[in-house]
Amino acid sequence: MQRRTLHITQKWTVAIIVIGIAFVGTALAHHGWSEYDANKTMNLTGVIREYGYDNPHGVVRLQAEGEGGKTWLVVLAPPARMDRRGLAREMLKAGTTATVVGYPHRKNGDEMRAERIRIADKIVELR
């Protein structure tokens, strides 16, 4: 039954594929939130200066309260999810006051990812 035994090239192929899949698996264990530091929860209230109800993630530029407040790029969620959870495009218009809870980007000093957003009395979970 010569066909039962794996040829040497076949053995190597199987070994390489297994190693490859293991490597890819490890790589994919990272996810989108890992770019943000979850140990530093931020609570930011400000005025929306600009918004994008865009794929793959919606965003707002949120200027923190107070004189000369810093403007943050706040990454929200995909439009389909925001829409389904009741955060309509109209609610993000410039001039609207919003509060976001989220985490700062590890490298970009003015970027954060929001876990949830509150506009007027409505709180929407974004994750």
Binding site: T9, T13, A27, H30, D54, P78, A80, D83
Partner: protein
């Protein structure tokens, strides 16, 4: 040169099609789905052919495997390329500057070049090793390159969302 590229990219990004895809709740994930379906066929068929070159299923003539599998690989490009381009359009400036995206394009080019070299060299003499015999070293090398390159292309594609 740099300014030209920037102008071209922002033009692409503001094109009606890009805006439509970017702002549509369902179109964007639908295009992603079509892109995935396309490369499942492209890469899946290519990898099955690579395994044949590496000595699996030796009773199957290489020419028959090529006729069936590689045709589907090529056809799937009609789905993969346009959907990939549409996804690229929505964030053209950001993508173009992203090193992961640059590496991905380079790897796709290398995979194409690898296939071309295989067809111009080893595959020309396929009748000599079509069935039940060992594949020549050149063809095995092409198969190993193909497996590694396509695996890396998919890894880069997935990494784009996390880098």
């Amino acid at each position: 040169m740099q300014a030209d590229a920037a102008g071209w990219l922002s033009w692409l990004e503001s094109a009606a099609l890009a805006v439509w895809v970017r702002e549509s709740s369902l179109l964007y994930p639908a295009i992603e789905t079509a892109h995935i379906l396309g490369f499942v066929v492209l890469v899946g068929a290519a990898m099955m052919f690579d395994l044949r070159l590496l000595g699996f299923a030796r009773t199957l003539p290489v020419t028959e495997a090529a006729r069936h599998l590689l045709r589907w690989s090529r056809l799937s490009l009609l789905l993969v390329a346009p959907t990939g381009f549409m996804l690229f359009m929505t964030q053209a400036t950001e993508m173009w500057a992203n090193p992961v995206f640059q590496v991905k394009l380079l790897l796709i080019a290398l995979a194409g070049f690898n296939a071309l070299v295989f067809h111009l060299r080893s595959y020309r003499r396929v009748e000599a090793w079509n069935q039940q015999t060992a594949t020549p070293a050149g063809a095995k090398l092409a198969a190993v390159f193909s497996l590694a390159l396509w695996t890396s292309v998919i890894t880069c594609g997935r990494f784009l969302a996390y880098y």
